[in-house]
């Protein structure tokens, strides 16, 4: 009995050590980013990297400077809208397709799914120029719709949800069929709610990839008042180049909304997992 408790304690300690070690590794670049943002350019490139408390205090004004020279509020808004609509589109289309591929039988299923798989294998840089020309001809440049365009459907999401649906027990559907539900009702009322954790994951990943998408917003929204955070940040890099503190300050400002969203989402995320875990 004692050895079991001791074993449990040892393994807990080991786990904590590993977790803390990796946390440290994850955080160091961020801490570095924030510290650099608070220095002057000269201090930032001074040789001593542990220069945490500079002689003249922390230069919070770097943030103010960046905030003034770039309209971050508009960047936040555009990014948020793009993410929101991409998530909605992705979840809608992927859950329907994922259900069909994961649970239904129909002719041509394998070929269609191959189409989904193959799309994931193709580097996205190939699509960009033709997609850009399409968006341009549709007059959607510098609009939110244009930003959402490549994300209207998602092969990745379809695959993810197919895996999710495949993992659900078979009996549920049979029971529903006996009860007289048609496929649509089965889907809506029973199957879809059960893939909540997968949907939440998909939502999160779609949001993240939308947030980080760089090349597309850059070429579709060239005006500073229509572009997103990632593209705006890259433009700032071109602008401030060697001014490290300013760059880091803008990077920090760009990160803040995502962290906020994540914190909000985290509760939803936990709920979603707990609920689906409990059902099983």
């Amino acid at each position: 009995m004692e050895s079991a408790i001791a074993r449990a304690r040892l393994s807990k300690t080991v786990m904590y050590i590993i977790l803390i070690l990796f946390s440290f590794i994850m955080i160091v670049p961020f801490a570095w980013m924030i510290l650099t943002a608070l220095k002057t350019n000269q201090e930032a490139i001074s040789v001593d990297p542990f220069y945490i408390f500079p002689a003249n205090g922390w230069h919070w004004e770097n943030f103010g400077k960046v905030w003034e020279s770039y309209n971050f509020l508009i960047l936040y808004k555009n990014t948020l809208l793009m993410i929101l609509f991409r998530v909605i589109c992705a979840c809608l289309t992927a859950t329907m397709a994922g259900y069909a591929f994961g649970r239904l039988r129909f002719p041509g299923k394998n070929f269609m799914f191959a189409l989904v798989l193959v799309q994931m294998m193709i580097p996205s840089q190939i699509f960009i120029i033709p997609q850009y020309l399409m968006v341009s001809k549709l007059g959607l440049l510098n609009t939110v719709t244009g930003l959402v365009f490549p994300g209207l459907v998602t092969a990745f999401g379809t695959y993810l949800l197919k895996t999710g649906y495949q993992g659900l027990p078979k009996d549920l559907e049979e029971a529903a069929a006996i009860d007289g539900c048609n496929i649509g009702q089965r889907f809506l009322r029973i199957m879809m709610p059960l893939t909540r954790s997968s949907m939440v994951s998909l939502g999160i990943f779609t949001a993240l990839f939308a947030f980080k998408d760089l090349m597309w917003p850059m070429i579709v929204c060239t005006r500073a008042d229509t572009t997103t955070l990632a593209a705006g940040l890259a433009k700032m890099q071109g602008q401030y180049g060697n001014d490290y503190p300013t760059m880091m300050a803008s990077a920090v400002l760009a990160l803040v909304p995502m962290i906020v969203i994540y914190v909000i989402f985290q509760k939803q995320f936990v709920e979603g997992i707990a609920t689906s875990g409990g059902k099983l």
Partner: protein, 429 residues
């Protein structure tokens, strides 16, 4: 929680929709794209003067060098180009040949723009073979030597003078490098990518040409070219290693007080003027090559590269008249003077040197205006410059020689490789 989400969602949709409609209700603005953030403030001030006269607002956007050309090309191919933008010798021929720029001849004639005011080479660059003019000269720039007085003082080396040869520079850099080794200070710094502001000038000083005058060949692999690059090699032995410079950049190294001297162009003055230690920085004339060994600078022994950007408009802009007017304004005598006074760049119009020289109180930048009395060569260009300009800076080109500056044979081979690369690229055009 769900209800809150629903409300937030609804709000977002409303925001999104209003955002979409608001854009179309505004009056039109002229969109201007440039790639140099240092110039944005000054140019916006000049543009605002134009807006005060015409009532049309102007929005200047800075896009970094690489993205600038990608975006412009994408826009040219079927998207939307900005209304007004900068043209550069690297690519302007391609744009002109494909009729992507607004023809300015009629406007020039109607408004009586005096083309003789501008530097001839720049005008020639932006005039097509059939006489159509597609851009007005915006500016020109020259190259000078930047040095850190504090470092020279610390190691007891005499400051650069305007009579320096490259050998003098070598000697000074050598002293600094040896004395400063313990502190991690280098004599000078130059990367393969410092072409216009760096090693190109040595090639010309020694009698070679990166691109011949007809833009169809090169003599970089000739004995003259090799002599020039050999001098570069010597300088590199008393400079920062290439990997350091590739990672950190010559400007950053200089501004962190790690380098005694670098060569730079007039478009970068602002960056050093505003730096923290700008009191330590000073400019001297670009050194020359005493090829005939007579101890003085003869004709052809001192060259400076110069480049001239142009202001152009998209061929399919919706407001050609306004764009042409804006371009003419930017290139008018008054605006050019203002551009120089604000320290933005040196003018495309001849004879406005003094205003620029005085634009930086506390920092003597006359080295750049003195450079105008040197022999000047236009920044080497061909129809598709990037096709050879990048490869000669990389492995298989001069990068190999930069990695081992102690070995003269490598540099000579690199010259021959560069010759071949350039000739092949031109053949493909």
């Amino acid at each position: 929680m769900k209800r809150i989400l629903a409300i937030v969602l609804a709000l977002m949709m409303v925001m999104g929709l209003t955002g979409l409609t608001a854009a179309s209700a505004a009056d039109f603005t002229i969109n201007v794209n440039i790639w140099d953030s240092n110039q944005q403030a000054g140019l916006q001030a000049i543009a605002d003067d134009w807006t005060a006269i015409t009532g049309v607002p102007v929005k200047i956007e800075v896009i970094d060098w690489n993205s600038y050309w990608t975006l412009l090309a994408a826009g040219a191919q079927g998207g939307k180009m900005p209304d007004v933008f900068w043209t550069h010798s690297n690519t302007v021929q391609m744009y002109m040949d494909n009729d992507l720029l607004l023809k300015l001849n009629d406007y020039i004639e109607k408004d009586g723009v005096d083309m003789s005011l501008y530097y001839e080479d720049i005008v020639a660059l932006y005039t097509r073979a059939d006489g159509n003019i597609y851009a007005l000269p915006k500016d020109h720039d020259t190259i000078a030597l930047l040095y850190n007085k504090a470092i020279f003082d610390k190691y007891g080396v005499a400051y650069p003078t305007d009579d320096w040869t490259w050998e003098d520079m070598y000697e000074a850099a050598k002293k600094i490098q040896e004395a400063g080794a313990a502190d991690g200070v280098y004599g000078m710094a130059m990367n393969t990518s410092n072409n216009q502001d760096g090693w190109y000038n040595l090639v010309y000083d020694y009698g070679g040409q990166v691109i011949t005058d007809d833009h169809k060949g090169t003599t970089i692999g000739s004995d003259n070219g090799k002599a020039g690059m050999e001098m570069v090699r010597k300088l590199l032995t008393v400079g920062a290693p290439q990997s350091v410079v590739a990672e950190t950049g010559t400007d950053s190294l200089f501004q962190s007080d790690k380098v005694g001297m670098i060569t730079q162009g007039s478009w970068m003055i602002n960056s050093f003027y505003k730096a923290e230690h700008h009191d330590d920085y000073a400019w001297a004339c670009l050194p020359y090559a005493d090829v005939n060994g007579n101890g003085q600078c003869d004709d052809g022994e001192r060259w400076s590269c110069y480049n001239g950007l142009g202001w152009a408009a998209a061929f399919n802009t919706e407001h050609p008249d306004e764009c042409a007017s804006l371009i003419e304004y930017f290139c008018s005598v008054d605006a050019q003077k203002k551009q120089a006074e604000l320290g933005v760049t040196m003018a495309g119009i001849k004879g406005i040197s003094d205003e620029f020289a005085n634009a930086f109180p506390g920092m003597d930048v006359s080295a750049f205006t003195k450079a105008e009395s040197f022999k000047l060569y236009f920044r080497p260009y061909t129809r598709n410059t990037v096709a050879w300009e990048d490869p000669i800076q990389q492995a298989g080109g001069f990068l190999d020689a930069w990695q081992n500056p102690e070995d003269p044979a490598l540099m000579a081979t690199a010259c021959e490789n560069a010759q071949r690369i350039i000739e092949e690229a031109i053949a493909e055009e």
